[in-house]
Symmetry: C2
């Protein structure tokens, strides 16, 4: 497949300004300029899979400090349909969010469908998790869908492999992913959307380097790192990041896909990552797990029943300004929807505030100090807890897929 | 049981100013003054059973025009416990709502428990629907709980009978309810709470008149009409209202309990009712039924999938200002919590706006015109649909109770 010699992306529509680089780590601060506004980095991007960041309004996202949100091409192509969103004038108008949007291609979701999907050189055939209907994604089809959705940053179709695949299998998938990104770029017709590349390569340093080098040669407006946080240890994830980011051009943003717990923000930024997305803060919130600078707390725990303090006295969110831990405990205990809202608002505000604090520290040269202070106070869930959470989630997904 | 000769209610804490009476109907406009602010009547009171009007924040309720909300003593005494709410400084502080609150005694809920409750002269023994634990409500205990909750208007324990009971059974219950309200008044220790009486009497005009006359003699700060909308026809309900309101003192507010569909507001106001509460607008919203001046629409209907218009172009709510029917349809189709929020906000705003419109019409003498215009445009669900909805709901309640 030939590479288009004149990329259709209008370089005036999207650009990245690198503002500072930390002297002791890979940490960077910058601004990504998009047609719908600027995104200061490092940034956490709240996930609005189905054209809504679960439980929140666009105005609440703005108040929480969100500058860019995600949506998902796989989910939106099934419901309500990308063509329908286009008739509404695109995703921004459809969901009432006027800031920047990034759409994931849905590759991760499609490849998570297991036996329900079949990959070939041209694309991937799968069954909808909603109604079992046959579906087909090719690189060109995904770009067409993303152009209909109209996000500011769009992701190419990539082949996502489970943790632990053989290096030869990973290499085949990686080369196909590379051909697919070139086809995605050739298929682009809208000059206002920035197509990022996605560096895959499993847990194989050589493959990660090969993917990164090939992508860098395409001179794309931004680069993502995919296929991490899929079951590997934190040490493995960090090792892969350390292979990739040094090979990426400094003046382009780097986006670590599907990763973004509070501790991950620090680890990723230290290794040169600018953008993060993960459903964890919103999903945990609905399960009653609330972020604090000391770690997570479980609001369902009866020790909060009589506590008049807010989640965090110095948090700027509406939840902390107005409600006690005791009231939130009550809402969760009686399963009131307001509880899920207030918890989500807090966790999203926490992530965005943390990203802003990290950014300011990078700019004023105090990133390492901040990092050390944070680590000293924050009890991250240990690997066993994380793995158990992940296993249960994957089982639930498998059950869902099997029931189609 | 002796009646306290000096009622503990501080008459300066609660009062009612009658501002206008319609020349052609029983419609009235007034203002109820409470320790937490004024309530212009006629008014619809959103229901916050468990110390939250489902899905909404206190600020959203204020923006929607709510001047008073309900909470439920039965539910709150079970979770989180009235004593716990008292330790938080009362219901206003606990839930972050600084406007007036009315607490229902929970009599209706207790008597809805069927075989799980047993009534005697002194009170009623029942099992919690939450955990099956044995509970006991007496008039004095209910007042104690309501004093701990600290609402501005409190309701006495009353015996609520199902539709269709024998007149002799209804008469026995009514006399007991009368003895109970006198005991409630004697048990009051807080001078800042207004205890309303509740006129029961089934579908028997003579009993309704007897209940009303006995209550009026107590010179209570306000009067409620209970035991309606429990399965009778609208005609029967209207006939009962017409027995009761003429016997109530004009300078006290009248509250029709558990009734308040848009068409009911007009019918009740025309018969001299000032205050309404019903869970219908919030419950319907979560089921996707949205109020318009033409009647209800079902947002799940596929005919809305491509509609760019809001629910009602001239509605002042955030939902109508910002979102299309197509987007709301999508949110309901994919079962996103934001959909339930936005629908609730609209329905509550609709009810409050309608109550405000009715109030202005009473004040300027155009109530009958408004009533006729409304009826000409509004398609109320017919009796069959209503009865079916009610049957399904009662079945669901029975299943819930049986599972204790």
């Amino acid at each position: 497949m030939a590479i288009s010699s004149t990329p259709p992306t209008d370089t005036t529509a999207f650009s990245f300004t690198l503002q500072a680089t930390d002297a002791r780590t890979g940490a960077r601060a910058g601004v990504a300029h998009t047609p719908h506004g600027d995104v200061p980095t490092p940034i956490y991007m709240p996930v609005g899979t189905q054209a809504t960041v679960k439980t929140l309004t666009p105005d609440e996202l703005t108040a929480a400090g969100a500058s860019i949100i995600l949506a998902n091409t796989y989910h939106l192509s099934l419901r309500p349909g990308a063509d329908r969103v286009a008739r509404f004038g695109g995703l921004h108008r459809f969901m009432g969010w006027n800031g920047p949007i990034l759409t994931d291609s849905g590759g991760f979701q499609v490849f998570s469908l297991g036996h329900l999907r079949k990959v070939d050189e041209d694309g991937v055939t799968f069954r909808s998790h909603v109604d079992g209907s046959p579906q087909r994604f090719t690189p060109e089809r995904v770009i067409q869908l993303e152009e209909e959705l109209g996000a500011d940053i769009i992701m190419p179709l990539d082949e996502c492999l489970p943790y632990g695949v053989d290096e030869r299998v990973a290499a085949v998938a990686l080369d196909r992913t590379q051909r697919w990104v070139e086809r995605c770029r050739a298929a682009q017709t809208r000059p206002d959307q920035a197509l990022f590349g996605i560096a895959q390569g499993g847990m194989y340093p050589a493959l990660r380097r090969r993917a990164t080098t090939m992508l860098a040669e395409l001179d794309l407006p931004g680069y993502a790192i995919g296929g991490l946080s899929i079951g590997e240890s934190k040490a493995e994830m960090h090792a892969m990041l350390e292979e990739v980011t040094p090979l990426l051009p400094a003046h382009k943003p780097r986006y670590l896909m599907g990763v973004g717990a509070p501790e991950d923000l620090f680890e990723g930024v230290a290794r040169g990552v600018d953008m993060f997305d993960v459903v964890l803060p919103t999903r945990l919130a609905r399960n009653g797990a609330l972020f604090t600078m000391d770690g997570r707390l479980n609001i369902r725990n009866s020790r909060f029943a009589d506590v008049e303090d807010p989640i965090m006295p110095d948090c700027a969110c509406y939840t902390c300004a107005r409600f006690s831990l005791g009231y939130l405990h009550h809402l969760f205990r009686v399963e009131e929807l307001l509880g899920y809202r207030l918890a989500t608002l807090h966790n999203v505000t926490f992530m965005l505030t943390l990203a802003g604090t990290i950014r300011r520290a990078v700019l004023d040269g105090s990133f390492v100090d901040l990092y050390e202070r944070f680590l000293a106070g924050y009890r991250a869930p240990n690997a066993t807890v994380r793995e158990e959470q992940r296993r249960r989630w994957l089982e639930a997904q498998a059950r869902k897929a099997a029931s189609v």
